[in-house]
Point group: C2
Chain length 338, copies 2
């Protein structure tokens, strides 16, 4: 399961993400308009599939981070719009390929593009959107922006392969899991913030501080997402629970539960995760085992450490309304679960 914003977020009274989005609503509206234009192609299938995936109800978290970072550093130009759209195009491209690789049929409550159009089409339109992402970067006229996002693009796919190779392997060290989380979520969160600061000419310290904010937020966000896959209130999360379990993905709550499991429980995990032999009721047992071993609390504690590091990274910025909102996002993310 890739990190996606829990839809429960929109239902609470203290939704810091909605609040940030409202604060940046003029910018984010332009990002959406840019993305709609960028989905355009003389090949109707490219256009249709791109729009379907780009406007599927994603919460625009990465573009929001890019816009917020640029604004926090006092940016007054308009390249942040194309750059935020670029980051979201890159993210959308990885979603298209992820869904092909995972054989996913549902995302955000409706059929995936690979289910709707086919795997071939999703692979090629994913490539198109990645090319589009790089094409959009020209607005920034910055070698550093190209370098940051090129490197991110490479690290993301490298981590996707790592995730694939350790699938079902209960003996992977925790560091490997963190490496996967870093690649699949943190690197692009970090790059989104970093390039926002770069176009604002914020200077090395602020650029690095915002990179760290994005990086640690990304780590926490994905760990929480992985934990919610076993622990969420299904109605609140707005998606199926147990997706990672069914796909044999080795995530932090699972690693923690496995470490402390009895021999009998280890056999359960080996059958369901390593061998991939699952019955329909196994997910209920899995959720119980995860909860009873304290793996949910332990995972959330790890996530919280990253949240605190993200908070620390913002100390060098002067007090401002936007800074408060970025801190509120941290509090919201760690509390969004249950």
């Amino acid at each position: 399961m890739s990190a996606s914003l829990a839809s429960s977020a929109t239902n609470t009274s203290t939704n810091a993400l909605t609040d940030l989005k409202e604060y940046l609503s003029a910018d984010i509206g332009q990002v959406d308009a840019c993305m709609l234009k960028m989905a355009g192609s003389y090949v109707p299938l490219v256009s249709d599939l791109s729009k379907y995936t780009m406007f599927a109800g994603g919460k625009r978290l990465r573009p929001l981070l890019c816009l917020a970072a640029a604004r926090l550093c006092g940016y007054q130009g308009d390249a942040h719009i194309d750059l935020a759209a670029s980051v979201e195009c890159m993210h959308t491209a990885t979603l298209l390929h992820d869904d092909v690789v995972d054989g996913s049929l549902m995302r955000r409550g409706r059929a995936t593009a690979n289910d709707q159009w086919g795997n071939k089409e999703s692979v090629l339109v994913g490539d198109f959107l990645l090319g589009r992402a790089f094409d959009l970067m020209k607005a920034a006229r910055s070698l550093q922006v190209y370098e940051i996002l090129s490197h991110a693009s490479m690290v993301i796919s490298e981590g996707e392969v790592l995730q694939l190779t350790v699938q079902g392997d209960l003996s992977v060290p925790r560091e490997t899991y963190f490496k996967v989380v870093e690649a699949k979520t943190s690197v692009l969160f970090a790059a989104a913030c970093q390039v926002g600061a770069v176009i604002a000419d914020a200077g090395d310290k602020k650029i690095e501080a915002l990179r760290q904010y994005g990086y640690y937020l990304g780590m926490a966000f994905q760990i929480i997402d992985d934990t919610l896959d076993y622990a969420a209130d299904v109605n609140a999360l707005g998606k199926r629970i147990g997706d990672d379990f069914r796909e044999g993905k080795v995530t932090l709550p699972l690693l923690i539960a496995y470490e402390t499991a009895s021999q009998e429980d280890q056999a359960f995990w080996q059958r369901t995760i390593t061998k991939g032999e699952q019955t329909e009721s196994d997910i209920i047992t899995a959720i119980e085992l995860i909860k009873h071993t304290g793996a949910v609390e332990a995972s959330m504690a790890v996530a919280n450490q990253f949240i605190e590091k993200a908070r620390d990274s913002l100390t060098l910025f002067d007090h401002s309304e936007l800074k408060d909102k970025l801190i509120a996002v941290l509090d919201f993310v760690i509390r969004r679960s249950f």
Copy 2:
């Protein structure tokens, strides 16, 4: 079938491509060393699959064009090495995804990566190599280089989707076929030449001239490749004949043959290409029909028009050994067939 250098090329006494490669042997050796390094990854599967595909006997045509363009414009630096490697990484990434999309099991006489490792792995490592390609571009320290190759990357995948959507459609106008050829081959040939000239600070006219050289050479090269799929000496070409036919790809010789076909022969093409109902002996009939309608000569005549345009584009360069070699490549490509 993607454009690939006919291995017959290496067997003739007047092989202008081998000659160009020898002329640039020091550079191309460094490109290979760079690519070997770039295949490296902390994820063994990424490294193994990358090396397998990068060192599968490809003739390094695109990097050669990049190096030659830089040298023709008097380039004295060393960024052309990374840039040539970048172009080949981009090409390798498209080959990996093409083979997944086409379900190809053989390329250059051995198992494709998707057959050897799997579709998922090929999709993700293709993404990695595309990221690597963009990461390598930083050596050029040129916004224009990023812009040219980003745009190329987007156009390539857009054209791949176009090719997919017109598969089996015998009513496509010739312009659509040219659009596919442009996207799948010309655009990267053109970009390879163009960026070589850009890093040499060759000025707009020479940059545009070399772009045209690459573009028209690419058009001719792919049209000839498509024609050889029905007309090649199998032993000389070193690959199976009739791949495009089996995949229902609508190429120029097929369009020409279909235009002039009798009603009975049109029914043959509709069954085998549009409906995809083929028996083993159909390829023999197909080859005969292509030959008897003069579609081979007509296609080669179109290719030759592009070759002449490529030749014209070099007129603004002073006489030099390297210019002669680039012209010899044109003569070789148009004659390489039979």
